[in-house]
């Protein structure tokens, strides 16, 4: 219902929220924010705000679903009703179901599930405010929660969404850019493994645009990865010789 078209990027290449195309939104990470879970993290990326929590390894319910040689990894991506502009009714939407799956598959790629046969590791991603990039920020938070819980993983997973907005390739789309841009590509990488663990594209890229987008994503992911490591180190600092 807009009479004028909103310009998402102006002539100088400045985006609607004042950022340059290759700029990430301010990132804030807190580890161990919830007491009852085995590991937890809170991530703010601009106005996107997400809690992630991990329980496990723990008993599988119902028992017959347990796997004899490894742990079951479960993931639930969920948004609160007031996290979005139009209130979202309670219950899981199809989008949340799809995102739960791709996040789970990303984490399964890095968790050493064979170390805990017949158990389950449950990951919960709760979006309390959505302003674009929730699945990638959620994955970033979930991998920190796994690390805090002491669950063995090959590497942390850092994730970001890149896209195309009025012809420009941009990093870390906010909600408006996601809604009205031409392409949105969430990517997650486990840097140590040099591997992509989550990849989706909604929209279109030419071959050259895709290359540019991938390069830009890797830069953004590298920045996020550094911040993740910093946050974990700070959480466990005040190091000393343990008396054991």
């Amino acid at each position: 219902m807009k009479d004028e078209k909103i310009r998402l990027i102006n002539e100088e290449g400045i985006r609607i929220d004042g950022r340059r195309p290759e700029e990430l939104r301010p990132l804030r990470i807190e580890i161990g924010v919830l007491d009852k879970s085995d590991g937890s993290a809170y991530v703010e990326l601009g106005k996107t705000k997400i809690f992630a929590a991990v329980f496990g390894p723990r008993e599988v319910h119902p028992k017959h679903l347990a796997l004899p040689d490894r742990a079951l990894l479960n993931c639930r991506y969920h948004m609160t009703s007031f996290s979005v502009d139009e209130r979202k009714p309670l219950g899981m939407t199809r989008r949340e179901i799809e995102l739960s799956k791709v996040i789970r598959e990303a984490l399964e790629s890095v968790v050493f599930l064979e170390e805990f046969p017949r158990t389950s590791i449950d990951v919960y991603v709760e979006v309390i405010q959505a302003d674009g990039g929730t699945r990638t920020a959620g994955l970033t938070a979930a991998s920190l929660a796994l690390a805090e819980a002491g669950i063995p993983i090959a590497d942390l997973v850092a994730a970001v969404a890149v896209g195309k907005v009025e012809g420009h390739i941009v990093l870390d789309l906010c909600d408006l850019e996601d809604k009205f841009g031409e392409a949105d590509m969430p990517i997650a990488i486990a840097p140590r493994l040099n591997s992509i663990v989550l990849l989706q594209l909604n929209g279109r890229f030419s071959k050259e645009e895709f290359k540019k987008a991938l390069e830009l994503a890797k830069k953004g992911i590298h920045e996020i990865y550094q911040k993740q490591k910093e946050a974990l180190k700070n959480k466990f600092s005040e190091v000393s010789l343990m008396e054991v």
Partner: protein, 275 residues
Amino acid sequence: MSISQMKKSLTARIVQEKIYNLLVQGKRLDGRSPTDIRPINIVTGLVEKADGSALVSIGGTKILVGIKTELGSPYSDRPREGSFTVNAELLPLASISFEPGPPDERGVELARVVDRSIRESKCIDLEKLCLIEGEKAYILFIDIYVLDYDGNYYDPSTIAVLAALATAKIPKYEVVDGKIQKTGEYFNLQLQSLPFTVTFGIIREKFLVDPQIEEESALDVSVIIGVDEKNNVISIQKNSPGLLPENLLEQMIEIALEKGTYIRQKFCEILKINI
């Protein structure tokens, strides 16, 4: 159909004994007296997309409430009033005893009990929420999420709902030439009352206020009492199986009124408001 909670958190019998023995001496596991409430913390406005929001903790229990407003039709039997609905979800990330899925009976009960407190106390002036009599009114969606569960999600939920309501900025609409349009301005809800709930746990003939999670699994019965600032009891819910000794109820209501006043003071102090 309601099924008995088979997966109640496992308690050792010696813990139940211990908690009761401590209570007899007027003491609790964490050093509180039987009627002490754990530290209360309130943060409002965390979710800007919501019209009102609050994150409240009592001890380790953390509750997030958000309010969203929509325009809808008033109820046919109340054409001059807006309305509100309360929903609650016990998020699986809050506790090993919450499972993902549709709101279980505990979540539904939480929503309905909080709803009754708000409704009975007439805390929200529903007539101020009417736009066009009989046709259009504001509908407030109040959604409660339990984020971290260390016992007693009722009392912090009520506080969070009131804090979100008290600090909400509702987008204002007006009728111009028969059409409804957004003005771009916001209005506050002037709360007419501050009804708080106080949760009691009973073991044999002793009771305690604001049970922590380790105490909860040792309780025989649990009861929630809602009180307002005029010393009225505005809601009660026995929310567990078990026998509630009649002779305790009067005492509990006295304590509920006392504790309600304490919570109200803290609430007004933290949010800098008066009622």
